[in-house]
């Protein structure tokens, strides 16, 4: 399956219509989610009143923070084992976007936390700390790639770091879990089904889907740019040598 996607030409063909489709769908879904979240759903005074409406950005961002790190690690693994260049291009494209959504999660969380819990930042909150360290892992990954002098070395070093980081994320999560958490328990994915009221759940799910599609479309755009950049560099090199 990986090999089928590993062909850059096939990827360019596929993403040339998939990316615009994802952009359009994401715009609709996010707009609907925001409209529902900001104007339609009733405010929940227990969660801080009107400020709880930030949830429709915060929760998708948190979901993407985790999913993007996992995606980067899986892509690194695929590249490290099978050396499919498209996988490395994907890992490279995910890093800055993942860092952006992780930062968005931290910022919206702080904005929500101040009126509700009375603090911008809580050092012994497990989820805050694990997301913060995931943010650092993204930064380290990007800095390491930037420091390497060839593309091949950047890919190898980045893949090693992403995999080591992925092995550590559960341990980081567990270690900070030993502290008590201010966050509520899981309320969307539980063995008994969602505990959240449907009026909040639907806009939340739609909004998460919209953010995920936007993320995927942006990853595809960055990957396309990278592939075209590499082709341009090849052509330039060929012209320089006069072949």
């Amino acid at each position: 399956m990986f090999s089928w996607f590993a062909n850059p030409h096939r990827f360019l063909m596929l993403s040339s219509w998939l990316a615009p489709l994802f952009y359009a769908t994401a715009a609709l879904l996010i707009a609907w989610g925001l409209w529902q979240g900001l104007w339609v759903v009733p405010k929940d005074d227990y969660q801080g009143g009107d400020i709880m409406r930030v949830m429709f950005i915060h929760v998708p961002a948190a979901w993407l923070a985790m999913a993007s790190y996992l995606g980067m690690a899986v892509m690194s693994f695929v590249w490290f084992i099978w050396r499919h260049e498209v996988a490395d291009i994907a890992a490279k494209a995910i890093a800055p976007l993942g860092a952006t959504w992780t930062a968005l999660c931290l910022v919206t969380g702080a904005i929500w936390g101040k009126p509700t819990w009375g603090t911008w930042w809580q050092w012994d909150d497990a989820r805050m700390m694990s997301v913060l360290f995931m943010f650092f892992l993204f930064l380290g990954y990007m800095a390491l790639r930037a420091a390497m002098d060839t593309r091949q070395k950047a890919a190898r070093a980045g893949a090693i770091l992403a995999m080591v980081g992925a092995l550590n994320v559960p341990l980081i999560k567990f270690s900070v879990d030993l502290f008590t958490s201010l966050h509520q328990d899981a309320s969307v994915i539980t063995p008994e089904g969602p505990k959240m009221a449907a009026v909040y759940l639907w806009p939340l799910l739609i909004s998460s889907l919209g953010h995920s599609l936007l993320f995927a479309a942006l990853v595809m755009t960055l990957m396309r740019a990278e592939i075209w950049t590499r082709r341009a560099a090849q052509i330039r090199a060929r012209l320089m040598t006069g072949d």
């Binding site: 390491l144 070395k153 190898r156 090693i160 080591v164 092995l167 270690s175």
Partner: protein
């Protein structure tokens, strides 16, 4: 596979630590210096110092490991000895583990041995807890040096890689630092925390050598 290359990597790393005069004393000096700066910064109230003392030493230990790790693989990559290590029959992971372990023995363990004296300066009471804490610093330090070694191996060919090593290694230090702090505190989970601390170190010993080995092969290319 013969163990000879591994032993010689171990011996070479020990020798390097003592080469150049005060080599092995520098990490101790940095560790003590970093710790001693804190009371000058946060004030000298004995109660405060007693509370934050163990944590300050964890931070100083983490910083010391980062400062000293920059050169352990970089020097080998520059003078070509890394290529020779990788041509031997020994796996790269075991060479890296031997070097990192020797580095911890010369640059990490002395810091743990110094810790009771620094804790006394931070107004700790004389007692068995000082020796217990010394053991925690030794165990936790081993994890710091191995995760830091991953960063050092990845950045072996990067000029002025020190800051890069810090950015890479610090998130990996988190579990050890938390378990270490819990082990020394009086919280509800402090009874099990030493076991978690040891477990996080064993995890580092199991995973880090392979990452270091892969990174060293990359550095030699």
């Amino acid at each position: 596979m013969s163990p000879a290359p591994i032993l010689s990597a171990f011996r070479q790393a020990l020798g390097e630590a003592w080469a150049g005069g005060a080599g092995a004393l520098l990490p101790v000096g940095f560790f003590a210096g970093a710790a001693v700066l804190v009371p000058l910064g946060v004030g000298t109230d004995p109660e405060t110092l007693r509370t934050i003392g163990p944590g300050i030493l964890w931070v100083s230990l983490a910083l010391s490991s980062l400062v000293t790790l920059e050169r352990i693989f970089q020097a080998d990559a520059e003078d070509g000895s890394l290529d020779l290590w990788l041509q031997t029959s020994a796996p790269a992971a075991s060479i890296a583990a031997a070097k990192t372990f020797a580095h911890w023995l010369t640059a990490g363990l002395p810091l743990a041995l110094l810790s009771p004296f620094l804790l006394l300066m931070f107004q700790a009471q004389i007692g068995g807890a000082l020796l217990e804490n010394m053991l925690f610093y030794a165990i936790g330090g081993l994890a710091f040096y191995f995760w830091g070694g991953v960063g050092a191996a990845l950045a072996a060919t990067v000029r002025r890689g020190g800051l890069l090593i810090s950015l890479i290694a610090l998130p990996l230090y988190v579990p050890t630092a938390i378990f270490g702090a819990l082990a020394m505190g009086n919280g509800p989970s402090s009874a099990a925390a030493p076991l978690f601390l040891a477990a996080s170190t064993l995890f580092a010993l199991a995973v880090a050598p392979f990452a270091m080995g892969a990174a060293l092969r990359l550095a030699a290319d």
